[in-house]
Symmetry: none
Subunit: 538 residues, 2 copies
Amino acid sequence: MTKERIYLFDTTLRDGQQTPGVDFSVEDKIAIAAMLDEFGLDYVEGGYPGANPTDTAFFDKKRTQYARFVAFGMTKRAGVSASNDPGLAALLEARSDAVCLVAKSWNYHVRVALGCTDEENLESIRGSVKAVVAAGKEAMVDCEHFFDGYKDNPAYALACARAAYGAGARWVVLCDTNGGTQPPEVRDIVSAVIAAGIPGASLGIHAHNDTGQAVANSLAAVEAGARQIQGTLNGIGERCGNANLVTIIPTLLLKDSYSSRFECSIDRERLQGLTRLSHQFDELLNRSPDHQMPYVGASAFATKAGIHASALLKDPRTYEHVPPESVGNLRKVMVSDQGGRANFINALKLRGIVVSKDDPKLDRLIEIVKEREASGYAYEGADASFALLAQRTLGTLPELFHVDSFRVMVERRYDANGNLKTVSEAVVKVVVDGETMMSVAEGHGPVNALDLALRKDLGKYQGEIEDLELADYKVRILNGGTGAITRVLIESTDATGARWWTVGVSDNIIDASFQALMDSIVYKLLKNRGEAGRAAAE
Amino acid sequence: MTKERIYLFDTTLRDGQQTPGVDFSVEDKIAIAAMLDEFGLDYVEGGYPGANPTDTAFFDKKRTQYARFVAFGMTKRAGVSASNDPGLAALLEARSDAVCLVAKSWNYHVRVALGCTDEENLESIRGSVKAVVAAGKEAMVDCEHFFDGYKDNPAYALACARAAYGAGARWVVLCDTNGGTQPPEVRDIVSAVIAAGIPGASLGIHAHNDTGQAVANSLAAVEAGARQIQGTLNGIGERCGNANLVTIIPTLLLKDSYSSRFECSIDRERLQGLTRLSHQFDELLNRSPDHQMPYVGASAFATKAGIHASALLKDPRTYEHVPPESVGNLRKVMVSDQGGRANFINALKLRGIVVSKDDPKLDRLIEIVKEREASGYAYEGADASFALLAQRTLGTLPELFHVDSFRVMVERRYDANGNLKTVSEAVVKVVVDGETMMSVAEGHGPVNALDLALRKDLGKYQGEIEDLELADYKVRILNGGTGAITRVLIESTDATGARWWTVGVSDNIIDASFQALMDSIVYKLLKNRGEAGRAAAE
């Protein structure tokens, strides 16, 4: 049986921008667009050119190679022709393959928000779509508040959808803008739209999660005949979020209800990159990952129950709804020495550290890692620190240098001219081959000062670390408030282009930063000697 | 039309116990049971007496006044009579109104996990249910893995359900233990069970969130005729969580799809306590609240989009799927650099700061806010800092005190015993009414030390800030790497229970923290004078 195609439309960079606490820079958008493009989505909606400087700059180039690059904006204003509407003009100038126009489809909004007549709104839709088509781009229309509009005035909502379709839109997207529609209503209304003459193959669904059913609503729309799903990475979006593509994609691919009838641009091989995609996105935005996120969360395949653990390992199929590897995730059995040990040896092997399963130091290492992870270390995000910890515990780490002491000072005061200034200074005592070097440095802040002082004079190793650079620095406070633990992650890079992550944890942010900086330097020195294993991405 | 009753069954204290990172003490359980009882749920499942000491102790008293108190446990073992099974005996001894027995309903599990025959398992179900009924308690049976079992061997799954019902169980609960069932499958299978002779009025649904559809599956089961929903507070539970009762209850009450046909033990008045219940639960477990949780999250009714904000304030109904007050939540219009002048004035108004639209200082304020937001300040997350900035710019902020200078030092060295220790010390010079106070303090880290030193001696204001507490501290690095800007957000609280957020931005984390700490203290002093506007959530 030929499967029907479901099209995946990502609006992380447009609707996702409305997420509280999220603000994409142009660089962020470029990086995310590349991630989405590489993963294989059909459409990447980049933002709203003309609405703000960031988005306008983002659209001065096409930012995807494979996915259709989409610019979003409003239909033309009433009383102005398509060619005379500056907003529409900005949209058409943008370097995109497609244009997604948001249109009112609830006549109440037409009256109150637009202040024009019902017919003028329809004309705006038609005129704008035609202009997009004439410009040689793919046209799609987001029918805003469609479901609420349909419930209030079905004839008008349908008229808006028809106006879009009739004018040449490739897609008419039905938006549950307020997020309150229920799955049975979505099924009924999508069916009604199809019965009114717009083929399901031209219908899209844009759901919000205000009653926790954005995923269910998206799938319900597909059940009723729609063939495009709009969503975001990790379900980001305003209020309660958009439909989570990271949940929808594996469900389409791995659940019989859908996989028997549908296919999409992502195949099972690409699907294995899903967990990494989700984590990379959180890292980029410095967002706390949701450990309980379906499929990709750290706890998605973690079981506590002692009863299940042994049965689970005998036949995971009976306790897991899908194999964790299918989405690039891992099974975690939290109560089981047996399973834990084998996983650990594999984890070390993957990093180029070979250890025999009978090595007594292995138990010690497993214990230390568990203790540390319980107190906040995140080794899964800091491969280089993990490799160093392993080598240190297994006794294979050479002692290259050590730090005797350090002192960091930040002072804010008025200078001689009466201007407020802040000065950060660090003093470090390093011991190399029995010789003590004392260095001082100033920096933008305490961590920068400490980093510079640490790397200022490492004796005979100095030449080796000239090309070492701190590329990224992330801080997360765990447990909040006054009992807070600080976790610092540092990304380092060198002239070879290698990048590696190190971690430090303490209730003192300077201390935590110091640990991560030290690991970064030691790792660099080992790497130079070919002894670092494979924790660096080259 | 008479409405049908939906029964709400809370398993926070039993299945919720499987949540990674959650471990209830007896005291925790008593407190939570009281919260659930007071809120008005029908059933409170307290745990597994006999399985561990905490649960056994918890069941030595009935812990609810209104709700039926439920003890959970396994059906008797094969080959042993009900009266001779110690596990079952412990269950019956527990001081509960009802007993919920978990039974295998997938014959694969019967074979592999129980190691008995299909018929022996059915006999265990019957015998155990009869024993519960004979003991004068309400019997219910959780049919474990029911949906997967039904897909694999429908006849056996139904036989298990019938055995439970026929032996006198008040409820037969169909469990999606692996969490992978899809809503259409739930509808079909629940319908099949009803067609096979078990009335919907005796059927319950126990869904898990492994494909993000626990809520949708629960409602789909009700659509098909089930009348009991099992879930947890805030959706806690193993892996991806259980069905979230905090999402389900308002959906049942406020959405026509259900409210027209069903009623439950919670009425609209009680529903207004929902947000508080959800937050209290997070507080008790010291869990970070999910700001994007449907209905009750801090962002559930927060809008950023400048375009919507003015329309929203005109007629909230058209932009909100339910009124926030209906669930005890609040509407938030966030300050955003995308906002226009009208939005700004409204944002100030909502915070109790009245300014005329012709006030020339208003332009200056808007400019400052935009500049600052462009450089990293996030006023939407820091109402108190926004209120202070506004008052300062509009000239209405009294100068209460100022900080002349501060110095923060972190030192790590070996102490006299050869142990590595880190010491953090801060010195602050504060000027109050022309008098200079100099204070020193030590802390866990540089920010803690600075906070303590700042609040150590504020002269005549000292008594006023005794109850000021730092509740949460968040750090975010913007732009990454060496050119990084640090944004610090601090949440403060005081004896009145008010909570407010302040922000600081600098390339120096100590400096950024200082700004946020200062705003926190100034805000507290203004609040004491009734001059702080309404940036605190009480």
